[in-house]
Amino acid sequence: MKKLVAILMVLAMTMSFASAMAAEPLKIGVIGPLTGGAAVYGNAVAYGAQIAADEINAKGGLQIVLNIQDDEHDPEKAINAYNEIMDDEAVMILGTVTTAPCIAVAAQAYEERVFMLTPSASSSDVTAGKDNVFQVCFTDPGQGKAAAEMIAAKNLGTKIGVIYNNADPYSTGIYQAFDATAKELGLEIVAVSTFSSDDNADFSVQVAASKDAGADLVFLPIYYTPASLILAQAKAVEYAPVFFGVDGMDGILTLDGFDKSLAEGVMLLTPFAASSQDDRTQLFVRKYEGLRGEEPNQFAADAYDGIYALYTAAMNAGITGETSYEEACELLIEQFATLQVSGLTGELAWATTGEVTKVPTVYVIENGIYAKVD
């Protein structure tokens, strides 16, 4: 018995020495769908975050370790993933990637006081009433409003058709704000049609609704997969209005096998474009392509900015790997009120509600690449 105690004490001493010598790295939990239907977003976030963490670790100083867990875009699995990373003593969370799981995890994290920064869950429900949850991406209403303002300011269309997914909070959130702002600005919405699942394949009826109403601009606050179907089916009936998308449209050119001529002239509002020529974006794009063999989308850029935002705030507040998550949570909330980060997706600052402020850019697809619209 005595021997055992002695051995244990020796062990404990060596371990405490070891940890005193190399400072404990800052553990950040990342939750997102790495498999399943939304896997494309989760993997983009995982790789974007890893690139940022590797850059930070290469600098020396505070080291970052990511614990990346799969939630399969499922709220229940997201809670399991959350428990997993908290058992692993994560100090803060980058996640989750998609809205429905994020709402579930945010409720739990609010309860237990864990700081959460979601790269891409854009619903206002994610942050509402929770002082410890922040977003890197635009909110849905913010995008809808910006899109209507842009269409009015640049006089892009007089008769507007809308096709949106009314079973998806993202799409519905954007549409409602767009509708309200468009009415304020005197834009005429002539056709609104809906679909109720991203698995929906037949859009002949929705396209016909806009076509028959004579819409010269069709607003598509939806993801690029259904959008690619709408573009193909509009072409089949020789209907060629201006298609205007939001950040969900980003990625359409990376669809394997996609006929890029279909997207010619499509406009979209997005904070990040891989074709942007500034050095930082290009470096990020090269690193991402090296890892994944494809261009990064906005999700990857948001995750990259998210890790830098957490790192900057942690440095400012003196948070290390030994800080408890409750303590880190309060310090980070304080930091984010004044934090300013210059990222790939713009100049980021946060409101205490958790919403980010940054300026969206309008791009038009010309010759298969994004061109900035001034």
């Binding site: 498999t35 399943g36 239907g37 896997a39 494309v40 993997n43 009314n166 079973a167 049609s193 809906t194 679909f195 109720s196 699942s197 698995d199 394949a201 037949d202 002949s204 009826v205 929705q206 016909a208 028959d212 997969t225 259904p226 690619s228 179907l229 193909a232 089916q233 089949a236 009936v237 020789e238 990376t254 669809l255 394997d256 096998g257 996609f258 006929d259 494809e294």
Partner: protein, 294 residues
Amino acid sequence: MVSLLSHLLNGISLGSVYAIIALGYTMVYGIAKMLNFAHGDVIMIGAYITFSAVHMWNMPPVLAVVISMVVCTVLGVLIEGLAYKPLRQATSLAVLITAIGMSYLLQNIALLVWGPNPKSFPSVIGLPSISLLDGQLIIAAETIVTVLANIVIMIALTLFTNKTKMGKSMRGVSEDKGAAQLMGINVNLTISVTFAIGSALAAIAGVLLCSTYPVLMPTTGSMPGIKAFTAAVFGGIGSIPGAMLGGILLGVIEILGKAYVSTELSDAIVFGVLIIVLLVKPTGLLGKKVHEKV
């Protein structure tokens, strides 16, 4: 009026795809008395094979479709031999669960092989649309090819089951497996051939489906699979003309429901009609009532 016509054509085109898929369900059910829920996923695999052949190996579309049919046929026979044949004497529930498991297995294999990113399927038809009535009515080439393919398949299958020896054994097995065996029909071979034909049709259905609706994901086959299964039940499961009729009616109801009632309620309307039909005529539109002698 013109828009009604255009919706009708879209409905018939969508319905024709359902009909071709439904043929696979109905033939397998008629002969092996099992619901092959993995059928929808064979469609997805067929579409992926065509996609890879055209897009990555630059093959001509027709050759790609033939390769996809061959692969799906082999896959169908393999699935039957490995997963269903050992369960021939088991309860129907065990077979059903195996089929559902097979469906998930295929989806996850596709996820591993082709990755989670959706693919945009290149139309293998590549003909221009036809413009009628001064451009008011535009018919996509895919619509015409789908409907024609459906008619050709239908005629070929009817001839096959009525005129060939294998077709005769199929009818025999579907009527009474035990008696057919006693008459010297190779039941296992007949069932394997049925799976082979059903899976080859699935490959064609996959290509037509993805040519009209060009997005391909590991879950692409599941919803059309369920709809086609509904179509098979609607038309009378086990009946080949029933699958055809059920499929086309389902497609037309779905599109007209979307166009004139509500885009959200179209599925509710489709399945509502199914319930009514089954209440009035439990064997489906063209299903036969089988009297069991005790």
